[in-house]
């Protein structure tokens, strides 16, 4: 095949398309062919996956009880006076 091989520098720019599954079958095959022979790029892709995973864990927090309380007050205020735009803090 006359297709030139990917360099590492090119591969790192395709990682998001790869992880988001947006590469064409040909591009994906090229990408994976490079990976199979390059431990640096395998580590790079693994680091990207870990990064995405770790960022995904940042959302694990819950509504604070005091916020919930305030918001329920807002709700009850709205229930009594649906058109009052000042909210419960007035």
């Amino acid at each position: 095949m006359a297709v030139h091989e990917l360099t590492c520098q090119e591969l790192v720019e395709l990682v998001t398309d790869y992880l988001e599954e947006k590469l064409s079958p040909t591009e994906q095959a090229r990408f994976e062919a490079h990976l199979s022979g390059c431990s640096g790029c395998r580590n790079y892709v693994e680091q990207m996956r870990s990064t995405v995973q770790m960022v995904g864990k940042l959302s694990e927090d819950h509504l604070a009880p005091e916020s919930r309380e305030e918001l329920l007050q807002l709700f009850h205020h709205w229930k009594m006076k649906p058109d009052d735009t000042t909210g419960s803090s007035s």
């Binding site: 360099t7 990682v15 998001t16 580590n43 870990s50 819950h62 649906p82 909210g87």
Partner: protein
């Protein structure tokens, strides 16, 4: 009905609900968006609490992209909830309820920005051609062009993170570092990575919320992820 509710199956999607127990218990109580909307119109508190559990912390995290501190973000989200309640009778189901609620947040943020005389940076206004090219990895880490047949290959390859203990990855300190790295991103990148990776939204949902083309969404995501990885690599090698 041009737009459909994008993911009706998300009602039981664990990743999206963060496996929040109260959300799961409630999930059975609401069949779908229109059921929820109907109950909210009748001022049913359970419906409101369900939405709070599901979206409040996510709304605050997105609000933090537009305003400078947590207090103002909470305020902005309160305004959003009030606007949701007051506008719920106008909800037509042309987008999912989730997208509709987040769009209200963005509108509230814009209004606030106007009041304060500053422009809120939205991804929709972002034009890739106006920005300089930003490589995912510092060019110095590759062999220079023309050097040898190894031009463009790693000169200093990244190390494997496999030997880093899971406990270090999950340390509060590491998480705080990650949050700081995300906060330091340009707003349009931060908007996209927050929705895609922190909140776990699909690319389609993000494009619809932010009026962004799929290609631009992915460029922003790529730059954001690449920067955060670079920071993390630096941090973990210390």
């Amino acid at each position: 009905m041009s737009e459909q509710a994008s993911q009706p199956e998300t009602w039981l999607d664990l990743s999206e609900s963060q496996a929040n127990v109260s959300v799961l218990n409630m999930a059975a109580a609401f069949k779908d968006d229109s059921d929820l909307v109907e109950r909210l119109r009748q001022a049913d508190e359970a419906a409101f609490v369900y939405l709070l559990d599901r979206y409040h912390t996510s709304l605050v995290r997105l609000a933090l992209v537009y305003v400078s501190n947590h207090h103002i973000a909470e305020e902005l989200v309160q305004e959003t909830w009030l606007a949701v309640l007051q506008g719920i009778h106008r909800f037509e189901g042309r987008s999912s309820l989730k997208t509709w609620i987040f769009r209200i947040l963005i509108n509230q943020a814009k209004k606030r920005g106007q009041r304060e005389g500053r422009q809120i940076p939205f991804s929709a206004l972002w034009q890739p051609e106006l920005e300089s090219y930003e490589p995912a990895v510092e060019p110095e880490r590759f062999n220079p062009a023309g050097a040898s047949r190894w031009a463009g290959h790693w000169a200093s390859p990244p190390a494997s993170w496999e030997d880093i203990p899971e406990s270090r990855m999950l340390l509060a300190e590491t998480q705080a570092f990650l949050l700081k790295a995300i906060e330091a991103l340009p707003p349009s990148q931060r908007e996209v990575i927050t929705l895609r990776d922190v909140e776990g939204w699909s690319a389609d949902e993000i494009c619809s919320l932010l009026n962004l083309s799929e290609a631009n969404q992915r460029v922003l995501l790529h730059r954001a992820r690449s920067r955060v990885r670079r920071e993390l690599e630096r941090y973990l090698s210390q």
